[in-house]
């Protein structure tokens, strides 16, 4: 195939699919084993300084904030992060000083709430390096290629743009049509962290709501930490096997963390805690405020349960559940009235 153009971005997370196959054979457990452990153990075991990590969910939706806080608590450093519509999760990791490089499809923003003060400071000052640019579909297809054990996936995106020039994709002459097509390289993250609605102790997972990229991401990552709202008996999974979107083969750790997505939205369970997100955005406007935030909500608590008490406990959590059902008044502290 004739290569017509190459992006100059750094190729991260890529390995020869044959190497990955061998790694899988040597390292992954193919039998159903109990993988439950606590968050502290899961993070210390699978997230190393310098790891390439990717989070499930989308923006402020179904992200494993409990795992993110634990990474901060364990003061991991030099992480490389897949910024695939990474929003609150990535912003918190950057604000806490855990990240040195990020690949960006959508990062440094909080959608309608505005840009991330902490991330912007880090990127504009050069403390965090943007290693490559991608689009959401490109990131999705990087994981799909990896999940399929392929080196790349062809697609009609990125073509003709600076996003391509800063990516690690290549444009080739398609031997079938004769036209240019973009080859999106596979991405095999060292570790992915996905928060799900329910799974059994082996890691057979069900997700309610939009799947985003999680089915492919789970299969692309070398190590997979699942945090879950609840652990259910395997019989529950076997009753409706068509709802399983991640089977145990891919899973390395199962951690039960009810409300583990707070202050983000867990579809069907609880809605955004806008009050807390607004507090975070306010405090991270300055370095001092950022330090204060982490001292209070991460280093100042023993674990996630203490954090939940601190953000308002049962009363707040019930309110967020009512909001999700549309039975309470929505509040948007960032709207100027």
């Amino acid at each position: 195939m004739e290569v017509l153009d190459e992006g100059k971005g750094e190729l991260l997370g890529w390995v020869d699919p044959e190497e990955h196959r061998e790694w899988v054979r040597k390292n992954k457990c193919l039998s159903m084993e109990d993988k439950t452990m606590d968050l502290r153990e899961a993070i210390s075991k699978f997230v190393q300084d310098g790891s390439y990590i990717a989070m499930g969910g989308f923006g402020h939706v179904r992200v494993s904030m409990a795992a993110i806080y634990e990474i901060v608590r364990q003061r991991k450093r030099d992480l490389i992060v897949a910024g695939k519509t990474a929003v609150h999760d990535l912003d918190v990791l950057i604000a806490a000083g855990c990240v040195s490089k990020v690949e960006v499809a959508y990062s440094f923003g909080h959608e309608l709430r505005g840009l991330s003060p902490a991330s912007r400071r880090a990127v504009e000052s050069g403390r965090v390096k943007v290693a490559a640019e991608w689009s959401n579909a490109a990131f999705q297809w990087r994981f799909k290629a990896a999940a399929s054990g392929l080196p790349f996936i062809p697609a009609y995106v990125l073509l003709g743009t600076d996003t391509f020039k800063r990516s690690a994709a290549k444009v080739v002459k398609d031997p079938f049509t004769g036209r240019p097509i973009c080859l999106i390289p596979a991405c095999f993250p060292d570790v992915a962290i996905i928060h799900v609605h329910r799974c059994d102790k082996y890691g057979n997972c069900q997700i309610d709501g939009a799947l985003v990229m999680d089915s492919e991401l789970a299969r692309a990552a070398k190590r997979l930490i699942i945090t879950t709202e609840e652990i259910v008996p395997t019989e529950e999974i076997r009753k409706e096997p068509w709802r399983t979107c991640i089977p145990y083969f891919y899973v390395d750790a199962v951690v039960e963390v009810p409300y583990g997505c707070h202050p983000c939205n867990m579809p069907g369970c609880y809605y955004f805690d806008e009050e807390h997100i607004a507090e975070y955005l306010r405090m991270t406007r300055t370095e001092e405020g950022t330090k204060e935030y982490f001292d209070k909500y991460v280093f100042g608590v023993e674990d996630f349960n203490q954090y939940l008490e601190l953000i308002g406990g049962v009363k707040k959590l019930n309110y967020l559940r009512e909001l999700e059902k549309g039975r309470a008044r929505f509040v948007y502290p960032w709207i100027s009235s």
């Binding site: 960006v104 996003t163 939009a210």
Partner: protein
């Protein structure tokens, strides 16, 4: 627009104008903010069979109790027909099922190229913006792209600092030469001042209509590149009372309308 100040806002004018562009029975791929309100308004007025789809996977939801503030939040699958995935949705538009897509922009140029990545030099950015998200994908793969953005000299620029999402690139034939699917590209740009299209021959941004109270001078004074002005310029019809009533009911908390 001054005499109507009390009846509707610029934001409302933009959303109403955008909603009228959507045809019944088609698909529309939308983000949060003004675009989702435009899509919902169209569905509640002239386009009841409009299929609203979100890139995170929500397909054809009904009108939710409050508008989504994330492209993946639970409001995007409210009474939907399917909670799919990004692979599903992006493959769907790559195969030709994406009729309309809404995009926002920090900068746009006369060929409709869009920047949402960085203001200033890439390696020493003045402002780092969020990047492409799904914009490059929608802008590459959907048939008709509608850009919704505020217009001024800093946003309507001669050359965007970074081409995040392809417009007509360097002019006629450039999209096809780059390998992008034929027949796609920016179709309309809606701002607080008017509605623009792209000339079929030279692919340059062309004024289609000015909003009530806006002059041709305002159009040109708020752009750093020359906008093509046709001999006869239409005036965008004002939002009707019904459109305003429906629009305001769709955003009861003022998430977008009061922002």
């Amino acid at each position: 627009m001054s005499k109507n100040k009390s009846r509707y806002t610029q934001t409302e004018m933009m959303i109403v104008a955008a909603s009228r562009l959507l045809e019944d029975g088609k698909t529309v791929f939308t983000g949060t903010g003004m675009p989702i309100l435009a899509a919902l308004l169209a569905k509640k007025t002239h386009a009841p069979r409009l299929a609203i789809i979100y890139e995170a996977g929500g397909m054809c939801p009904e009108v939710p109790p409050t508008i989504p503030i994330s492209v993946g939040d639970s409001m995007t699958t409210y009474k939907a027909i399917m909670a799919a995935s990004m692979d599903y949705v992006m493959s769907f538009i790559q195969a030709g099922y994406g009729e309309y897509a809404f995009l926002g922009a920090a900068q746009i140029d006369m060929y409709g190229n869009i920047n949402t990545t960085v203001i200033g030099p890439y390696d020493k950015p003045k402002v780092r913006l969020p990047g492409s998200g799904g914009a490059n994908d929608f802008g590459s793969l959907c048939w008709r792209i509608i850009v919704l953005m505020r217009q001024d000299k800093q946003r309507f620029v001669e050359r965007v600092d970074f081409v995040t999402t392809p417009g007509y690139l360097t002019g006629p034939g450039a999209r096809e030469k780059a390998g992008l699917p034929r027949g796609t590209g920016p179709w309309r740009v809606v701002t607080q001042l008017g509605i623009y299209g792209f000339d079929e021959q030279d692919k340059r941004m062309t004024l289609l209509s000015v909003h009530p109270g806006v002059s041709i001078e305002d159009i040109q004074n708020n752009s750093s590149f020359p906008i093509k002005i046709p001999k006869k310029v239409e005036v965008t019809p004002e939002p009707t009372d019904e459109e305003l009533r429906v629009l305001r009911s769709l955003d009861p908390y003022g998430v977008v309308l009061r922002k």
